[in-house]
């Protein structure tokens, strides 16, 4: 067999790609909310975590994996919509620290409530695919059926979001109400309803991410499962530019691969430090992100 495919570099790239699509999905969900409502959702890790707990609570009623996934997605839709209607609606047009503080508060509450209902010990989720790596010529290839499932799901979600925005009337309305809410309202677009929809959509992307993350062999579901991943997702979104979905995904994948190389060739502690340095340097060079067009602020 070809030793190249099991070499250290290829295996780092493959592992990094698996983590990278996860970061890309978190970054994408942040960008979706940022573009439609101008809010950086600090509970973007915690809300999907909560919905995932709710959905997989049905495991104790002997539901299978896929019905539970559907339940998670429904819980995510509900949670995202309710959050926008009840919590976020009053925050539009307020000073920019207000939504940040409220969403941080929501993050604390969700994590604390989840831990008080389901305890903070990791809960392992059933997995439809094996997490054990395939072997090539006696050496492990850094790919397992589960990681292929992760990457494929992420690509499908990203493609679906892109198709929704580009090819459907709903996507056009979503873009219009983000770009020019007043004009869209005059043209008959129900902007309020679409903002809710944007939050629901972002939460569902988050829910799918959380299921993939906590379904892995080594992790499991905990109330804090998304904290670290949220940080990387934010770093990816900020590097790519909060305005740009494609930028967010590309930055996420690149960040995942760089992280894996740092982990392998330096050490594990250095991963987040290097990521932080990359973030600071990239923000100093291009404050609004690598992929964003510079925008003039109107006074």
């Amino acid at each position: 067999m070809d030793p190249f495919l099991t070499s250290r570099i290829v295996s780092d790239i493959l592992t990094g790609l698996t983590n990278g699509v996860i970061f890309g999905m978190v970054a994408l969900s942040l960008v979706l909310i940022w573009r439609s409502t101008g809010i950086l959702n600090f509970a973007q890790g915690a809300m999907p975590m909560f919905a995932t707990y709710v959905g997989f609570a049905l495991l104790s009623y002997h539901w299978g994996y896929w019905p539970c996934v559907v339940a998670c997605v429904i819980a995510g839709l509900l949670l995202g919509g309710l959050t926008e209607r009840l919590l976020v609606r009053g925050l539009y047009g307020k000073p920019e620290i207000n939504p940040i503080v409220v969403m941080v508060g929501f993050l604390i509450v969700l994590e604390a409530v989840a831990a008080s209902i389901w305890s903070s010990t990791p809960r392992s989720l059933p997995s439809p695919f094996s997490s054990f790596d395939w072997h090539l010529g006696g050496k492990p290839l850094s790919l397992s059926p589960f990681t292929v499932y992760e990457i494929a799901t992420a690509l499908i979600v990203m493609a679906a979001v892109a198709a929704l925005f580009r090819f459907t009337k709903l996507g056009l309305q979503l873009r219009a109400s983000a770009l020019a809410p007043e004009v869209s309202r005059l043209l008959g677009v129900r902007v309020g309803r679409l903002l809710t929809l944007g939050w629901m959509l972002a939460t569902v992307v988050g829910v799918i991410t959380t299921i993939l993350v906590s379904g892995g062999f080594f992790s499991g579901l905990t109330p804090q499962v998304m904290d670290g991943i949220f940080a990387y997702g934010f770093i990816a979104a900020a590097i790519g530019g909060l305005e740009s979905p494609v930028g967010a995904i590309v930055a996420g994948v690149v960040l995942g691969i760089v992280n894996q190389f740092v982990d392998d060739f330096v050490n594990q502690n250095a991963v987040i430090i290097i990521a932080l340095v990359i973030l600071i340097v990239s923000l100093m060079i291009r404050p609004s992100g690598v992929f964003a067009k510079s925008v003039q602020r109107r006074v």
Binding site: L40, N98, V109, A112, A238, N269, I272, A275, L276
Partner: protein, 400 residues
């Protein structure tokens, strides 16, 4: 104040001071206690006399702030003598925390930026304090505190440089990443920071002999140390509040408030936005480092797990509930922090929850997170703002 009181103020104050001095010497067991008591009363009387003078605040703002600080310190230190060890310890952590809150209040209130990483800046101060004390045990504690502050300011400068070009959510996210990364940074330098177990201070800071003789006579040694550390924390907090009050009112503070309200206008009148933003960030991280260094001093040890992301979130909750952008909000937040553990234990016992249960262990997060949301939605200026609002309504009603 009416006119008669204003005219007769000085003789009455002198009379009161004499009476207080005589009374404290008569009631005290020893001469030293008498001296201590009379100092406490006379300082309070002098400060009150100065502060109640008509027009004093307007004519001598700095002296007035100094008098107010001195009065607060006097009362707070006086109270510590009547509290037990554990209450004093709580008070000391509250005083240290209020310094951190003051820094964040300044950052947000003055320049409109927000930081989710002040817990990590506290950690910088806490670890610098411990590392320095382990290598140079003879350095006086106030010098070590200053070194911790300087290190906090330098780290603040490094992280604050991109802040000069960032707006709201980017800065919040970047500081969040720093807060999450901080524990890993500590592990990377584990030969200095002591790894997971953290560091112990080589010797516990104890009161100098002259102070011991004057103020802490007749108390058991263990209590004395807690009392001394509490009083040190309170004095440092007092100095920090005094500086911050002046900074808020100074040219720098005023120009920063203009940036917060209208950054374009600020640039047009010649304020350098990047410089003002980075200065605000440095001040807030230096204050956080000072609070963290005091934490190390009070606990006599430092552990990396204290300075997790959760601490940064707690700091944000406390200052929002107290009143972000205000000085009194930091004080209120510090007091809440000091006694929150007691209150939560009280709630647990009152409601009959299982103290080892999941709900009881998460009560802290549920209450603080809930209060954070409710405060921001319904009273964005926190307790301090609500009190001020009520006070103004009462005054306008009584005048009109």
């Amino acid at each position: 104040m009416n006119l008669a009181w204003t005219r007769q103020r000085l003789p009455i104050a002198i009379g009161a001071a004499v009476v207080a001095t005589v009374l404290s010497f008569v009631s005290a067991a020893t001469t030293k206690e008498g001296v201590a008591l009379s100092i406490a009363f006379d300082v309070a009387i002098a400060c009150l006399t100065a502060l109640t003078q008509v027009g004093f605040k307007a004519n001598h703002p700095v002296v007035a702030r100094a008098a107010l600080t001195l009065l607060g310190l006097d009362v707070a230190i006086f109270i510590t003598f009547f509290l037990g060890s554990s209450a004093n310890f709580n008070l000391a952590t509250g005083a240290a925390m209020s310094i951190v809150l003051l820094g964040l209040s300044f950052l947000t209130g003055a320049s409109g930026q927000i930081s989710l990483g002040n817990g990590a800046f506290m950690g910088v101060g806490a670890f610098v304090m411990a590392i320095w004390a382990n290598h140079h045990a003879t350095t006086p504690i106030f010098v070590t505190l200053l070194i911790a502050v300087v290190c906090g300011a330098v780290v603040g400068l490094l992280l604050g440089l991109p802040a000069t070009r960032l707006r709201g959510p980017y800065l919040a996210g970047m500081t969040l990443a720093f807060a999450v990364a901080f524990i890993f940074i500590l592990s990377s330098f584990s030969s200095w920071t002591g790894g997971d177990s953290g560091l112990q201070l080589p010797t516990q800071a104890t009161a100098p002999r002259w102070l011991l003789g004057l103020f802490h006579a007749g108390t058991a040694p263990l209590t004395t140390t807690t009392l001394y550390l509490t009083d040190v924390a309170i004095v440092v907090a007092g100095v920090a509040f005094f500086f911050m009050a002046n900074l808020f009112a100074s040219r720098v503070g005023r120009s920063m408030r203009l940036i917060r309200d209208n950054d374009v206008a600020a640039e047009l009148v010649g304020i350098s936005l990047p410089r003002a933003r980075v200065v605000a960030f440095i001040v807030s991280s230096a204050y956080a480092a000072l609070g963290g260094a005091l934490f190390t001093l009070i606990n006599n040890a430092v552990s990396p797990s204290t300075y997790s992301f959760a601490l940064s979130v707690t700091i944000l909750s406390l200052i929002v509930i107290g009143g972000i952008g205000t000085i009194s909000g930091a004080l209120i937040g510090g007091i809440i922090y000091a006694f929150s553990a007691n209150v939560i234990t009280w709630i647990t016992t009152q409601t009959g929850l299982n103290p080892q249960g999941n709900l009881a262990s998460q009560l802290n997060g549920i209450i603080f997170g809930g209060l954070l949301i409710l405060t921001m939605l319904f009273a964005p200026h926190g307790i301090a703002g609500a009190v001020r609002h009520l006070w103004q309504r009462v005054r306008s009603r009584s005048l009109g």
